[in-house]
């Protein structure tokens, strides 16, 4: 204990203000960016809708000129939906969005088609998560395994990544990782997984090369869930080695 307080005991309020702990600048900027992502108006979706709508009108006019308006209306609507899907979004992370049934998708079950109204609700998906466990495989010390389970209350496409406090995404081994009923593929910075059957207890096991992680530093599992209507919820789960 220094003797400074004896000398300056009348200065306590000033010292308390001056010694106010400051957060790291990279932490402030990363968190501010994350908040900005959620609060900024989504101009992208407005553009996509406008684009799809505009194309629909052009097709309607063109087809109406040669007759068969009702046929044209159906066809144009289908085309607009398809275009909206193709142009659709890749999300903040610039990840490829997988919308079909792939290795990174729940097994199909009758009645659980993507967008089925019985398994979706208005607004963004609800996400719940359990505590994170960090393990090292004794047989393979090159990787650290970070595990948790999540619950999703409607169908959603998940983009899962591990980031530093500064927002940098770390490489993940898909072969050694597991989400839901399994993923596979080359190493990636974000794993894609579609949940067709909303439920709790979906396992998320991520394998990260050990040389990318430092003891005592906080990292974040970032899970972005987008429902069939394009509503997005993102959660960040902190953990430390």
């Amino acid at each position: 204990m220094s003797g400074i307080w004896k000398r300056r005991s009348d200065d306590l309020e000033r010292q308390l203000r001056a010694a106010r702990p400051d957060p790291r600048p990279e932490f402030v900027s990363a968190l501010a960016e994350r908040i900005g992502d959620e609060t900024r108006p989504r101009r992208g979706s407005a553009f996509r809708l406008a684009f799809a709508g505009g194309l629909t009108v052009v097709m309607l006019v063109g087809l109406a000129a040669v007759g068969g308006v009702s046929y044209a209306a159906t066809a144009a609507l289908d085309a607009a939906r398809t275009i909206q899907k193709v142009v659709a979004p890749t999300g903040d992370e610039g990840a490829i969005v997988v919308r079909g049934l792939t290795a990174g998708t729940d097994q199909y079950r009758p009645g659980f088609g993507w967008g089925d109204p019985n398994h979706n609700h208005a607004g963004p998906p609800g996400l719940r998560r359990a505590k994170v466990r960090v393990r090292t495989n004794p047989n393979d010390s090159r990787f650290v395994r970070v595990s948790t389970t999540i619950g999703v209350d409607e169908q959603a496409h998940l983009t899962i990544s591990v980031r530093t406090a500064g927002g940098q995404e770390l490489l993940l081994s898909q072969r050694r990782s597991n989400v839901g009923q399994g993923v596979e593929g080359p190493p990636t910075k974000n794993i894609q997984y579609s949940v067709l059957i909303p439920r709790n207890g979906i396992p998320v096991d991520l394998s990260i090369p050990r040389n990318l992680l430092r003891a005592g530093v906080t990292y974040y599992i970032v899970i972005r869930a987008e429902d069939p209507d394009g509503n997005v919820r993102t959660i960040r789960i902190p953990y430390r080695l």
Partner: protein, 157 residues
């Protein structure tokens, strides 16, 4: 148009972090609590009511719940950057303050964190804790006295 309480987040992050750091110690745990608080704030920001207080008071209300849910209060940590020109003295002051704060009763620590960490006024603290402004001022004065006594006791030892 609806008022967005998180429209200017940088200053809110700094004030919230300072409050949390005075409560549980600076470092990764304080960052985790700060992040989790903003995650919850994002989730429930539509429920923010401007008439009930400023955004920073609302965030501190959330942060108090997050801290209460911590499995245990972590040890006080003092974080410093190596390129600080007044490293030695400032570190000594921070270490002294952190130790003395950690030795106080939770209520004193809460009051001092709100006043000198989050930089809330006595009136804002009163609104948050359901106390009259006068009562907050008196309690703050006493908490400062106990902190000063703690610092002097340790200095003497």
């Amino acid at each position: 148009m609806r008022y967005d309480p998180l429209a200017h987040p940088e200053e809110l992050i700094r004030r919230l972090y300072a409050y949390v750091a005075y409560r549980i110690g600076a470092g990764p745990d304080a960052e985790d609590v700060t992040s989790e608080t903003f995650e919850r704030a994002l989730r429930y920001r539509k429920s923010y009511d401007r008439r009930k207080g400023e955004p920073v008071s609302w965030l501190i209300g959330i942060a108090r719940n997050v801290i209460a849910e911590l499995p245990r209060h972590p040890t006080v940590e003092v974080e410093e950057r190596l390129d600080d020109p007044e490293l030695e003295e400032r570190t000594a002051v921070r270490v002294d303050l952190s130790r003395a704060l950690a030795a106080l009763q939770p209520r004193d620590r809460e009051l001092l964190s709100l006043r000198y960490g989050a930089d809330l006024t006595a009136r804002q603290i009163g609104e948050l804790l359901g106390l009259k402004t006068n009562a907050v001022e008196v309690a703050l004065h006493r908490a400062l006295g106990r902190l000063r006594a703690e610092l002097l006791t340790e200095a003497a030892a």
